[in-house]
Symmetry: C2
């Protein structure tokens, strides 16, 4: 039985890691009769055309959203308000408008201001990614077993929410609904603060006196290299995250700083018991994450190892 | 041609991730006529016997080092001094004594006090590991393309240093020589501070008000899960690292805190330019690490992804 695709036309505005992964996965799953994409830069649009993943690449956002029944903004959160304003007059009545932004509170308020009442606004955030960006970086499997959080404003049409939930489920994601403010608090600790810390320590290592950059790179397998991965994420996306989720990030930072001071004091005083107690406790969190399938059980994230050749005989 | 093994008897004191990996790799490479191991706990010794990787498992350190021409302490750095004292009277004249500790300054001083002049003391630190520990966690490929740092005290017999260098090279490692103090400064930034930060943030996430632990686990793919890996490392090993490399760690922490304050201020003031400039700079470090082969070029450390099933037709 060949079920009809749930959407006639999906419009993707932006084609980086997330937009490109949605396009690939939606195509594999047959979720639309037509997928149309656009992107801010001519170079990206040209590359998307070459890739041949979508049915059409158009030059303007207005053109992209015309007649679309699902519009997804896959752009840095700072651009979401202006783009919502730009497309507002071109949306088909009854269209679902969504996004993929890592911040919800400020962004939802910004977008909602502009969108017409005849459109269904269902903000979304797929908690998935890699350190790569650009039109070539996406892949269809990115969202499998990852969570996608929907934050529909009060009064949103439940059918529209259900339709978007089904879309993300078809991409392999597990869907949860929460308020924008709670989303921003949760993501501040599970994503934003980790990125800030990683960006900080990688910057610290880059500017040391007494240790050369070459030494930092060579001996990075001692732990440092793990941090460099998320500190290689897209700088525009992350600038916007910190500008728009300032309060929650600063709150988490405050708690983190208190905890760091506590451990620093234990080191300064040579309090081995306090250190051991803390280090033993954090192991359980890793186990929990692996148990619920949010990370690989393989040691070292399953990083590949070369083979050890037998000694010449 | 069947070359004679470079060592007659290697004694491994301790059989965790590192000791167990040395044993497996040395066996594959045929580096000793005999490999003897011991461990502090009877349970570990029993498991090592079962594994059948080494030629003999003995109960005491004294027994292990008897007649050995290479002795390697593969134990937490806090135990190195006492064990050096314990084995001192049982070493064969001319034996090479080494370790694998992540701290050198304090540990080298501790061990050197006890070791007899007739033994060659060549401290070593293979910068490699995973978050797993115990006798089952080791594997022969762990050291391939990782660096092993030797910190021989002034006046050490160059032949002994050369012999240990050859040993580590045969395990697949690249070898570098530096002073204990410089080692401790370099590792403070490439390993110890990253672990401290990871242990801190994982602890912070564990005790939050307003965000449940279940939420932290579910949405950890936003970046947090990366930190949980190194925060799952052996608590005794890491307690000892911070107790014995206090000064260098506190120095790096000071610089890190300054840098974190700078970024915090940029967030508080909404200074997007400062954030962008910092985030763009740190990308280059990741590229450098991948280019010199110290991390995988695959996105997301090459973490595995499930396949997206085709829609039922």
């Amino acid at each position: 039985m060949n079920a009809a695709p749930p959407f006639d036309k999906i419009a993707l505005i932006g084609f980086g890691l997330i937009g490109g992964s949605i396009a690939r996965a939606a195509r594999v799953q047959g979720l639309a009769k037509q997928i149309v994409a656009t992107a801010h830069s001519a170079k990206t649009r040209a590359r998307v055309s070459e890739l041949g993943i979508v049915d059409a690449v158009v030059e303007t956002n207005a053109e992209a959203v015309a007649d679309a029944d699902l519009v997804i903004l896959c752009i840095p959160v700072g651009a979401c308000g202006p783009v919502a304003q730009e497309i507002a007059g071109h949306l088909k009545p009854g269209a679902i408008v969504s996004d993929v932004g890592s911040v919800k509170g400020a962004v939802v308020r910004d977008m909602a201001l502009h969108l017409p009442r005849a459109a269904h606004f269902v903000p979304a955030h797929p908690v998935a990614g890699t350190e790569h960006s650009g039109p070539d970086s996406g892949f269809a499997e990115l969202f499998i077993n990852r969570w996608c959080i929907l934050t529909p404003p009060e009064g949103t049409d439940p059918d529209a929410v259900e339709k978007l939930r089904g879309f993300w489920a078809a991409l392999g994601a597990r869907v949860e609904i929460m308020t924008p403010d709670h989303h921003d608090l949760v993501l501040a600790i599970t994503s934003h603060l980790p990125h800030l810390i990683a960006y900080t320590i990688v910057g610290t290592a880059d500017e040391l006196e007494g240790v050369t950059q070459s030494e930092v790179l060579k001996f990075s397998a001692g732990g440092f290299r793990d941090f460099t991965r998320i500190a290689a994420s897209d700088p525009i996306m992350w600038r916007d995250v910190f500008l728009t989720n300032k309060d929650a990030v600063l709150e988490m930072l405050g708690t983190f700083n208190e905890d760091l001071s506590k451990l620093t004091r234990a080191i300064r005083r040579g309090d081995g018991e306090a250190l051991f107690e803390h280090f033993a406790r954090t192991r359980a969190i890793r186990r929990g994450i692996v148990e619920i399938g949010q990370d690989s059980a393989a040691p070292d994230f399953g990083r590949p190892h070369a083979q050890l050749g037998k000694k010449a005989e």
